[in-house]
């Protein structure tokens, strides 16, 4: 029993220390979840996540969809009566999941992130057409995604939102320096980046 208690407190302590947020001060008013744009489609809502940390439910938390859906819009922090910044907790949970090699139940977002960052590494800038096409081909929902493009693709070209000059990516001069940033981060994080 004693060991179990220590373990559950170590998760809480680690997250409190890394996020700078006092998880235990949360009194479950749920305003963070009420304001969160994605709580309805998360497997665990933000206020539940805070409680799960106290209960030490590490595996569920680190493989959850919820921590991959947070984009740090910051509404949780802006609305919290305890002045607590929930998104910092999400950031720490996502970092821990990566460090400890957890496989997330949310696969599409990390996949899209990798495609996006691959473009940045290879060109120095993000290329919207490449990102869209590569993402569509990798997510396994080609029919849905192509159907969604039908009403917006042609008008984008007709109205000049996109031109033919946007179809091909071009590299910035310092592309190698940008690629080096990725390599250096990778090295420093011991392969976890």
């Amino acid at each position: 029993m004693k060991v179990w208690l220590e373990e559950k407190h170590s998760l809480l302590e680690e997250i409190e220390a890394r996020s700078g947020q006092k998880v235990q001060e949360c009194y479950q008013c749920s305003k963070c979840s009420g304001g969160c744009p994605f709580s309805r489609v998360m497997d665990y809502a933000p206020n539940s996540i805070l409680e799960m940390i106290v209960y030490g439910m590490k595996d569920q938390l680190l493989s959850s969809k919820a921590i991959q859906m947070c984009i740090q819009c910051g509404i949780c922090g802006a609305q919290c009566p305890a002045g607590f910044e929930m998104y910092e907790v999400m950031n720490v949970l996502r970092a821990m999941a990566k460090e400890e090699g957890y496989i997330s139940h949310e696969t599409k977002i990390p996949k899209m992130n990798n495609i996006f960052l691959g473009e940045v590494k290879n060109n120095g800038r993000m290329h919207e057409v490449n990102l869209m096409v590569k993402n569509m081909l990798s997510q396994g929902e080609l029919v849905r995604d192509v159907a969604a493009l039908i009403p917006i693709g042609p008008p984008m070209f007709l109205k000049g939102i996109m031109g033919f000059g946007d179809v091909l990516p071009h590299k910035i001069k310092g592309q190698a320096a940008v690629a080096k940033i990725f390599e250096n981060v990778e090295k420093m994080q011991g392969g976890h980046a």
Partner: protein
Amino acid sequence: MKTGYFPGCSLHSTAKNYETSTQAVLKKLDVQLEEIPDWNCCGSTPAHQKDHLLALALPARNLALAEQAGMKEVMAPCAACFNHLRTAEIECAKDQETSKKVQGVIEMKYNNTVHVLNILELLVERIGTEAVAKQVKKPLKGLRIAPYYGCMLTRPAKIAQFDDPTNPTSMDRLLGALGADVVPWGAKTECCGAAHILTRPDVVVELSGRIIYEAKDSGADAVATACPMCMSNLDLRQSAMAKATGKEAKVPIMYITELLGMAFNIPQSELGMRKHVVSTASVQAKIS
């Protein structure tokens, strides 16, 4: 006035009209924009989600380049670029250890001397609404505009350090200076769903739809935005919103700089007003 300028990837592709209107408007206001030479992508949400050090290093290379070019301030019109550049600015300035680590990763020297601004900050706090009002040739009288800020201009508050995190008013004041009727509404700082459009379009159509229908219910003629990601979700997805809800959308979305340009009587070809999926003709007709 001279200021450093970070356009960001979107302003060079789907948001070209945000760039052209920004340049045209700031020229009228006597602001010279000096682009950071050979800038790179800020890393946006994917870098933020993937690795904190990468999310600091990518924008930091731009800050270091700006510093080398002698810039003291850099203005980023894209709300997300602003947010990520400012994160790097603040975290490097706050902690020497972080700053050293970041400089090691980018293999460049950076002395934390560059301050990052968003476009509303530049217009309202540096230039001022009085100077803006002086340039108005064609007041936007009778035009009902819903000011939309989204998330990244004002939140997280400790990063953005700009305006009120949930009830900002800087764009309201700017629109007021143009003579527009500023619509009070409830979706000022709601999230449009952002980059989840690529992975969960259903969710984004619902979130953006709420903003559009709220604007419609409030009687707005158009929504004003200062973010290319918000523009793309709000403008491009209205047919999907209508399909999901059975209610017609058709709310024109305008960059704040396009509205400024209209009021300054800058030719529409210079502003890029045609580059919207939802036609802006109704807005133009109302003030001409």
